[in-house]
């Protein structure tokens, strides 16, 4: 009789170390998208030419895309089940978004400029911060908050056993829909404010702004992932997430301000400020300065580092109640 479990080696830790059992025929459990595809792919692997990387990449991409669509649907249903929580989350999200605007308006109430940024530019920086934080919180931060809990209770085991990249699942398992309202609020505020102060921008400025917001988000995600990975060793340090929220707050300030700090602190904080200040500089000044190169290099580099660090940390994960 064919055995139900087939032994295999874990892929998520980078190096094959652990031998676990995998269900031979995933369809017997359910028809979830990752099980179906993964089972099929393993059987096909031996027949495919090894150099067919592009096809494999497209297959993997479409597989993860379908999985992400399921996650989006699941998260939306999850939020809609608890409607009071959903409405409360929207109120809180909009409240904090509006607070950022009120905060900068009050702080610059008697100030004309700071660190070479005019009052209007500082307000646009704060509004862009609202948009970027909305995006970050929609995709990632809720999952990072959850990470310490699932590590502490041993629930990370369940994610590691799934035939999907562990970092993908850990980072995107829940999508925080109320934060889309914050993004919307930020976009409306941006257009209204630009209309009030009569500022017009070039097409290049807008395109650069949108493009470098993407790099900024990658950088912020990588930083969050990097710091949250420490939870594998210190699962009780749950308020590291609150600390990250605070450090993120540095992104509301001009990057020139942080450059006044000593190099040790600068290294720690500058990436956060670069992530928001650089796209805004492109928008309001239309200038492509050296910060853009820094942002691109740091975001790609930090993404790679956070990935390697996660894989390294998983080798030290000692399962439930570690």
């Amino acid at each position: 009789m064919k055995p139900l479990l087939k032994t295999y080696r874990l892929r998520h830790s980078g190096k094959p170390r652990v031998t676990l059992g995998r269900i031979q025929n995933p369809q017997i459990l359910d028809n979830r998208v990752w099980c179906q595809d993964d089972g099929g792919q393993d059987q096909d692997d031996d027949n495919k030419p090894k150099h067919d990387y592009l096809k494999r990449f497209v297959n993997q991409f479409s597989r993860y895309f379908r999985l992400y669509k399921e996650i989006l649907r699941f998260s939306f249903q999850n939020f809609m089940v608890y409607r009071a929580h959903f409405i409360n989350s929207i109120i809180a999200t909009v409240g904090w978004g509006a607070f950022q605007f009120i905060w900068i308006e009050l702080l610059t109430f008697r100030t004309r400029s700071a660190f070479g940024w005019t009052k209007n530019e500082l307000v646009i920086l704060a509004i862009s911060y609202i948009i970027m934080m909305g995006i970050l919180h929609f995709f990632f931060s809720h999952n990072m908050s959850r990470l310490s809990r699932i590590i502490d209770k041993g629930e990370l085991d369940f994610l590691l056993l799934k035939p999907v990249d562990s970092q993908f699942l850990v980072s995107l398992y829940i999508q925080n829909y109320p934060n889309l309202v914050r993004v919307l609020l930020g976009i409306i505020l941006l257009f209204v404010y630009l209309h009030i102060i009569n500022l017009t921008f070039t097409l290049i400025g807008w395109l650069g702004f949108i493009c470098f917001i993407f790099f900024g988000i990658i950088l912020l995600y990588s930083l969050w992932m990097f710091y949250c990975t420490f939870l594998i060793w210190f699962p009780r340090l749950t308020n590291i997430i609150d600390f990250l929220f605070t450090i993120n707050g540095m992104a509301r300030y001009p990057s020139e301000m942080m450059k006044k700090l000593n190099p040790g602190i600068l290294l720690f904080i500058l990436p956060f400020t670069l992530s928001v200040a650089t796209p805004v500089k492109i928008l309001v000044r239309g200038s492509f300065d050296v910060d853009i190169i820094y942002l691109v290099i740091i975001s790609i580099g930090m993404f790679a580092i956070s990935r390697i660090f996660w894989l390294f940390a998983l080798r030290h994960y000692t399962s439930a109640s570690s």
Binding site: Y82, A84, H85, S89, I102, L107, R112, S113, D242, T246
Partner: protein, 264 residues
């Protein structure tokens, strides 16, 4: 003696997770240090009165950090989520202590630990930058300021308790808590001193109780107020505290009738 032992037990619990408390302290500290840094670049381009200079800015935000750590209670989520929604209130109801005072005893060690982090920080900072931190050296003002700080703690604690007790009626109050926190930050001088705000906001803040939880304790420690003004502040704090306590009693008496718990 029995009460003292209970307090010591809670101290043990708090010290067990002292690194967590340190992180909670570092969060507002980082925020306030960043604001000081911002003002260092903005002050020369600011139309403000002469009293707002780097020395008063540093003193204000350092004291704000200490006041936030020492006086700002965060009991609302504990009361709302763990005690009322998850049913932990049952174990408090069977104890021979009023719920308000048990929670007060639970909260005190957190405030003392985080407040001591703040005091250590200010001592260290004053050692290196002697002229930046200016606190009154008049013993009567210090005594009255201490009383204002104690009342400020009672004010925030009772306010947050009342917020937590609202969970008797609402299934989810997180949005409401967050909104109150935002209003509290703005009108307690959490962004900048209230005298630098627009006049309309100054008027609103004088009506609300929030300024008496952080702004007035800070300014009283700096020696800005006369004795008469300090006594007036104490009087208003007592008035607000009485209002909050009455609300607390009403909410507790009505709310406990709504509470249901299960178990064997």
């Amino acid at each position: 003696m029995r009460l003292f032992r209970i307090v010591l037990l809670h101290f043990q619990h708090v010290f067990e997770n002292r690194l967590r408390s340190l992180v909670w302290f570092l969060i507002p500290l980082m925020n306030n240090l960043t604001v000081i840094l911002f003002w260092s670049g903005a002050i020369k381009n600011t139309n403000s009165n002469a009293s707002w200079n780097m020395s008063t800015i540093a003193t204000y935000y350092f004291l704000l950090t200490i006041m936030g750590a020492m006086l700002n209670s965060h009991i609302e989520e504990d009361v709302a989520v763990f005690d009322i929604q998850q049913g932990d209130l049952v174990r408090y109801l069977t104890r021979p202590f009023p719920y308000y005072w048990i929670k007060f005893i639970e909260e005190i060690p957190y405030r003392i630990l985080q407040g001591s982090y703040g005091i250590l920080l200010v001592i260290a900072f004053s050692f290196f930058y002697k002229n930046y931190i200016t606190i009154s050296n008049n013993p009567i003002i210090l005594l009255l300021s201490s009383l204002i700080m104690i009342l400020a703690f009672f004010l925030t604690f009772t306010l947050k308790m009342n917020l937590g007790l609202s969970a008797f009626w609402f299934t989810d109050s997180r949005g409401f808590f967050e909104l109150i926190t935002i209003v509290l930050i703005i009108f307690s001088g959490g962004i900048m001193p209230l005298y630098l705000l627009p006049h309309g906001m100054q008027t609103i803040s004088s009506i609300l109780p929030f300024a008496y939880t952080a702004y007035f304790p800070i300014l009283s420690l700096q020696g800005v107020f006369s004795y008469a003004q300090l006594i007036r502040i104490i009087g208003i704090q007592c008035l607000w505290l009485a209002v909050f306590l009455i609300i607390n009693r009403i909410m507790w008496k009505q709310g406990i009738k709504q509470f249901t718990s299960f178990g064997q």
